[in-house]
């Protein structure tokens, strides 16, 4: 498993200009009547990639997935899969398989028959089918349930059958529509890692649709954050989190503090921003905006420290008082009201069991962060 891990770490075909995308979505638009579900969207997905389409419901992610599966045809634009234009190819001739959100297991067939269904359609010899089904049952640890009907299985078991059925044909691409949506939280977390292992083991390309950012962050090599039929940002999970390219992405993924203001000075890569309530900030930006332009400093709560005394050597230190304390066990979330009136969220890990100097309500505190603790977004 360790060696696979290291392969995974160095897996980044998208940053290699010579690598050829496995799935190429080019200027795809899908309209339902007047409603534009997918809006002139282009996206490249690489072989063996675990790719996540992330967005709120109605953002067009499921429509995009259904176009990959062939259930919907693009209104305009094209989808190329492994060098083949998929235009006009019906779902039953596409080298992709889908795992449905509802699992869509055939209720009149046993687990075994469900898994064998696709193989039978391909006209595979009976002995090979039996062999493959056995292999799949072993893969999802359901050997004992081969003769059961779907209604005799638990939710988690059904999810595994759906997965086994979808990968049994060894598709070039596996499409997963909210695959963990129907599972409870604990099972969902376990299954996330199982899916990742399975993807490595089978060496398949996975395209997953989810509205759960944690799920996408955990599993995917890259995430496409979607909104209103468009891709807002495509990047690896750390990039999406630490360097969101827009207010939408910053706000959608995790918790965030956004300081809106005007650029007062730019010195090299340092940007000085005067934000609402007279808050003066100094941030670092690789593409600094011009002086006088509107800009926003975006800082994640865990990058902000809350201290009783003014900290030395930190570029940004703002005075305020504690407004709220949320103790979550592994960490504590503070809401600090700055003197200018803005509420800042900060979180700190409870690495020590008993803090020497616990912060309390209404206490005067300092919130501080470094210049490179967040990003600067131009408005």
């Amino acid at each position: 498993m360790k060696s696979l891990g290291s392969i995974r770490r160095s897996f980044a075909p998208w940053s290699d200009p010579n690598s050829i995308p496995y799935i190429s979505i080019r200027n795809v638009t899908k309209k339902f009547g007047d409603f534009v579900a997918v809006d002139n969207l282009s996206l490249d997905i690489y072989n063996r990639e675990f790719f996540a389409l992330l967005g709120a419901s109605g953002c067009g992610k499921s429509t995009l997935l259904r176009m990959l599966a062939g259930f919907e045809q693009p209104t305009s634009g094209e989808i190329v899969l492994d060098g083949q234009n998929m235009a006009g190819t019906p779902p039953y001739r596409r080298p992709v398989n889908m795992m449905f959100q509802s699992y869509a297991l055939f209720p009149h067939m046993t687990v075994e028959k469900n898994i064998a269904f696709g193989l039978k359609q391909d006209g595979m010899p009976a002995n090979e089918i039996a062999e493959r089904v056995k292999q799949m049952l072993k893969l999802v640890k359901l050997e004992k349930f081969a003769a059961r009907k779907p209604n005799q299985l638990s939710g988690g078991q059904r999810q595994r059958v759906a997965l086994a059925r979808a990968v049994a044909k060894r598709p070039k691409v596996l499409l997963l529509d909210e695959p963990l949506g129907a599972l409870d939280k604990k099972l969902r977390e376990e299954t996330q890692f199982e899916l990742m292992d399975l993807q490595q083991e089978l060496g398949l390309t996975f395209v997953i649709v989810t509205h759960d950012q944690e799920e996408a962050m955990t599993m995917a090599d890259r995430i496409a954050v979607m909104n209103a039929g468009k891709v807002i940002q495509v990047a690896t999970p750390p990039e999406i989190y630490e360097a969101p390219n827009s207010r939408f992405v910053a706000d959608f993924i995790g918790d965030v503090n956004i300081f809106d203001g005007k650029v007062t000075a730019v010195t090299g890569e340092f940007v000085d921003i005067e934000a609402e309530g007279g808050v003066k900030l100094r941030m670092v930006s690789s593409e600094p905006p011009a002086v006088g332009q509107n800009a926003a400093a975006v800082i994640r709560p865990e990058k902000i420290r809350v201290t009783g005394e003014k900290p030395a050597g930190r570029a940004n230190a703002l005075e305020g008082e504690i407004w709220d304390i949320g103790y979550l066990g592994d960490m504590t979330v503070f809401r600090v009201k700055l003197d200018g009136g803005k509420i800042v969220k900060a979180s700190s890990l409870n690495a020590v069991r008993a803090a020497e100097d616990p912060l309390t309500y209404d206490q005067k505190v300092w919130v501080s962060f470094d210049e490179n603790a967040g990003v600067v977004l131009k408005d």
Binding site: P91, Y92, F106, P107, H108, G118, R165, K169
Partner: protein
């Protein structure tokens, strides 16, 4: 304590209502008919004997009870007419049921696939014929099917045929009549089976390599089988004993048990034999019902 007893009786009453209904409207009439079928025909009123009366006392009852016999049933086996009538009824009912299924399935499928907003309207249209008397609708078919009727005039008018087709007073007219009359009984259970089916199952089948036609036979049809069975029972059972349709549309050519029964009762005034015919018909019909129940119990497992 009183409350518990009250609930106990209330529950019993709820269960007793259907049993009471069945007892009064099925079981008692059944035993009356069974009793008559075991009697001897008489030219009297009532036209059979023995007649049990309260005045007979226990001994008189026992004496009369000994007079009952299975002679009428034995007699039914002696005349090939009855066997032929049963056989032909079952045959006509089977063929009509199959034809009804073939006509009803596409209708139900189309209804289930129709947009949700028009479905109630379509459902209304299927039930609409019930608003007109059954008898009038069957008479209407006479006007359509007779040699100088609407159908022949239309076909001759557009030049498809030059001689009128003889449909009325043949078995074909009976098939047409049964298919038409019982169509809603087939469409409704099929529709309810198809309507609740999950559309993603079809998508899953296509995703796994099935053509749309293949997906229909491997997924849609197997899952609609409970509806198919229910619809077939609802058509087959009344069709076997059908009297009005063969009488009005079938002419003398069609031999069906409903007409035989009618003749025994009204033309021959032989109540005991007529009752025996009815009892045998019931026995024939119970077989598919039991079979259906068995299938249902199996699928519920």
């Amino acid at each position: 304590m009183m409350g518990a007893i009250g609930t106990f009786f209330r529950k019993r009453i709820v269960i007793m209502v259907p049993y009471a209904w069945l007892t009064v409207f099925f079981l008692i009439p059944f035993f009356i008919v069974l009793r008559i079928s075991l009697s001897t025909s008489e030219i009297a009123m009532p036209p059979y004997s023995p007649v049990f009366s309260m005045a007979d006392g226990w001994a008189g009852w026992m004496e009369k009870f000994n007079l009952l016999s299975f002679d009428n049933f034995v007699w039914l086996t002696g005349d090939p007419l009855y066997f032929e009538a049963y056989f032909s009824s079952v045959k006509i009912a089977l063929i009509s049921t199959l034809l009804t299924l073939l006509v009803a399935y596409p209708i139900a499928y189309g209804m289930a696939k129709a947009p949700g907003t028009v479905r109630p309207t379509l459902l209304m249209l299927v039930i609409l014929p019930f608003w007109t008397s059954f008898l009038i609708r069957v008479y209407a078919w006479i006007a359509i099917l007779k040699p100088e009727g609407l159908l022949n005039e239309l076909l001759m008018g557009i030049g498809v045929i030059h001689e009128p087709l003889i449909i009325l007073n043949t078995t074909y007219a009976v098939y047409i009549g049964i298919v038409y009359s019982y169509l809603p009984f087939m469409v409704l259970p099929l529709y309810s089976a198809l309507e609740k089916m999950d559309g993603t199952l079809i998508e899953a089948a296509e995703d796994l390599g099935c053509t749309p036609v293949g997906a229909f036979w491997k997924v849609t049809f197997p899952l609609s089988i409970p509806g198919v069975i229910a619809g077939c029972m609802l058509v087959f059972i009344p069709a076997v004993g059908e009297f009005v349709i063969p009488d009005l549309l079938g002419g003398s050519e069609t031999l069906m048990i409903g007409r035989t029964l009618w003749n025994e009762f009204n033309a021959n005034h032989d109540w005991p034999v007529a009752s025996a015919v009815a009892i045998v018909l019931l026995a024939i019909l119970i077989i598919p019902i039991v079979f259906f129940q068995h299938l249902q119990a199996k699928s519920a497992e």
